[in-house]
Every structure is written in C-alpha cells, then in structure tokens.
C-alpha cells in the first residue's frame, strides 16, 4: 500500500509540480477551449487569454508566499 502511495505521490509530483492551482487552471483552460471548439466557434484565442492570466496568478502567489 505504501509503495502504491509512493508511486501515486511521485506521479502527482511529476505531473502537477509545486503549484497545483496552475495545473488545475491549465486543465480548465483546455476544457474551455474544447467546449468553445465544440460549439463551432473559433477557439484558438482561449489559450492566449488563459496562459498570461495563469502565469500572472502564479507569480502573484509566489511573490505573496
């Protein structure tokens, strides 16, 4: 069990890193892109909007901490 937990923690650490909010934000931004694309509307603009916002929020948290 502890080995499974260690593997899960290693995967979490590898994928998410030290800022889970940014990882969650990336997932939400990609989901939003998929939703907009599925509506038949141009969706390429969503990531260029989301990425600066995510970076700004991440920097702000780092500066506060």
């Amino acid at each position: 069990m502890s080995r499974l937990r260690a593997v899960a923690l290693a995967i979490w650490s590898f994928v998410v890193g030290d800022d889970w909010r940014t990882a969650l934000g990336v997932a939400l931004a990609l989901a939003l892109t998929a939703i907009v694309a599925s509506l038949g509307v141009a969706a390429w603009w969503t990531m260029p909007v989301a990425v600066p916002l995510l970076l700004w929020l991440s920097l702000r948290r780092a500066v506060r901490d």
Binding site: T22, V51, P52, L55, L59, V63
Partner: protein
C-alpha cells in the same frame, strides 16, 4: 522524377522538417538545461516505440487519436512550462536566488562521480519530456508520410523525403549543441520555460479542437509573444522591488499586487549566497 513527384517530395520534406524542428527544440532545451544523456535516451525510446508502432500497425496508424495525444502532451508541457517560467521570472527579477553556476558545476561533478560509481542515472523529467515531444512529432511525421504518400501511391518516396528532413534537422541540432552549452544556465531556463509554454499552448489548443490561424506558422507568433510577456513580468517585478523607487510600503501599486514589496524586501535581506541586486540583475542574466 515527374513534377507531381517532386511536389510530393518537397511538400513532405518541408512538413516533416517543421515537425522535426519542433521535436528538436524540446530535446535541445531539456538536454542543455538538465541532462543530455536522459534527453537522448528519451529520443531513443520514442524512436523505438515509433518503429514498433509503424511495424505493427502500418497504415492503420492514421486511426490513432492524435488529438488526444496532443491534448495530453500539450497540457503537460504547458503545466511544466508555466512552472519553469515562474521560477525563471522570479530569478531574473531578483526575487529568487540565481543559481551559483560554479557551485552547481561542482554539485554536478560530484553527482556524476556518484553516478559513475553507482551506475548511470536517468533524469526522469528530461527523459519524459524528450520522449513525449519526439513521439508526438514522430507520429505526425508518420501521418504526413502515410497521407501524402498514399494520395499519390508513392509512400516510399514520401518516406525518403521525410527521412531526409529528419536527418537534416538532427544534424542541425548536433551543430547547435556546443554553442548552447555556453549560454548561462538561467538564460537557458528562461528560454526553456518560454518554449515549453509556447508549445504547450499550441499543442494543447489543437488537441482540444482549436485551429490556429496559419496552422504551424502560429508558433512563430506564440513563441515571441510568450517571451515578451515574460520579460514584461520581469520588468514589472523589478519596478515593484526597485530600492531607489520607493520604500517597500509604497510599492503596493504594482502589477502583481500588494505583497510584492514585502517579497522584494525579503529578497534584499542578506542571504548565505548574496542575492542578485536589482541593479546588477541585468537582462543578460535572464
């Protein structure tokens, strides 16, 4: 060679060269900043998986859900890239200690000696990034060969053109490797953060169903845009923490919020290794 065959060869060569350059960018960036051996191991492993997939599936490869792969790889690259960029921006702004490269070299030397005694160590991060980048782009090269080649019933010619493109780009990568090692570490990390973020944005959006204006050429706009955005954040953080501009308590109207001043003050407190001051942390140190 007929005009149609020449057109096929040139089209496949150019399309595959673009894909190969994208993969090469990831491998060079990861290799130069973390571990060449692990990055090249990732390339080798991806090559083996590609060969096995082509041998096993052949033309049926085109049925693979490439968009799902793009979405996963893009999402991961973007997550990694944003974290690299955050740290690189904080270092460049003087809010996080720059790595002391002599000490780093000594640590690497000791680690290498330990690894030599205890067997070679693979840096999983470098391996995985190279593997994913090369596998994704390699699959795209295979798709190009199969679709372009099958349309004109000349898969062999398409494969030769693709191989020529990949070999040419790989040779360019070998030539670029030595100059890259002379770039300061923090500058490389900044560049890697920019590249991972830009490629992650591009692939992630494509995988989610978006179509970029200009297709792959959009990367020519995305990469500089991410770089400029990051430099703007560095400038904003430096202004927020500039000691001559205002006392810490007054530096609250910055782009990054009220606590930037406190963090800048903390960064100015003497550390075991001196922090780069805002005046000496020049743009070259990025």
């Amino acid at each position: 060679m007929s005009g149609a065959e020449l057109g096929l060869a040139v089209s496949v060569f150019l399309a595959c060269a673009v894909e190969a350059v994208e993969a090469l960018t990831i491998v060079l960036a990861v290799g130069a900043t973390r571990s060449w051996s692990s990055a090249l191991s990732g390339v080798g492993a991806a090559g083996l998986v590609l060969c096995a997939a082509v041998a096993a599936l052949g033309p049926a490869l085109t049925a693979l859900p490439i968009d799902v792969l793009r979405l996963l790889v893009g999402g991961l690259l973007l997550t990694f890239g944003l974290q690299w960029l955050r740290k690189a921006i904080l270092r460049a702004a003087g809010l996080k200690a720059l790595k002391h490269e002599d000490e780093e070299f000594e640590a690497q030397r000791r680690a290498a000696q330990t690894a030599a005694r205890g067997g070679a160590r693979i840096d999983g991060y470098s391996f995985a990034l190279s593997f994913k980048g090369v596998l994704l782009e390699g699959l795209e090269v295979v798709f190009i060969v199969l679709t372009f080649g099958a349309n004109q019933h000349r898969i062999g010619l398409a494969a030769i053109a693709a191989a020529a493109a990949v070999i040419l780009v790989a040779l360019a990568g070998v030539a670029a490797r030595a100059p890259l090692t002379r770039v300061p570490e923090n500058a490389m990390k900044f560049a890697v953060g920019v590249m991972l973020t830009a490629f992650g944005t591009f692939w992630g959006a494509e995988g989610a169903g978006a179509s970029w204006p200009g297709s792959d050429a959009a990367l020519l706009a995305i990469v500089p845009a991410v770089a400029l955005l990051s430099l703007a954040f560095v400038a904003a953080l430096r202004r927020a923490g500039a000691p001559a501009s205002a006392p810490a308590s007054e530096a609250t109207s910055t782009a990054l919020g009220a606590h930037a001043a406190a963090a800048a003050h903390t960064a100015a407190v003497p550390q075991p290794h001196p922090q780069p001051t805002l005046s000496t942390a020049t743009i070259e140190e990025l």
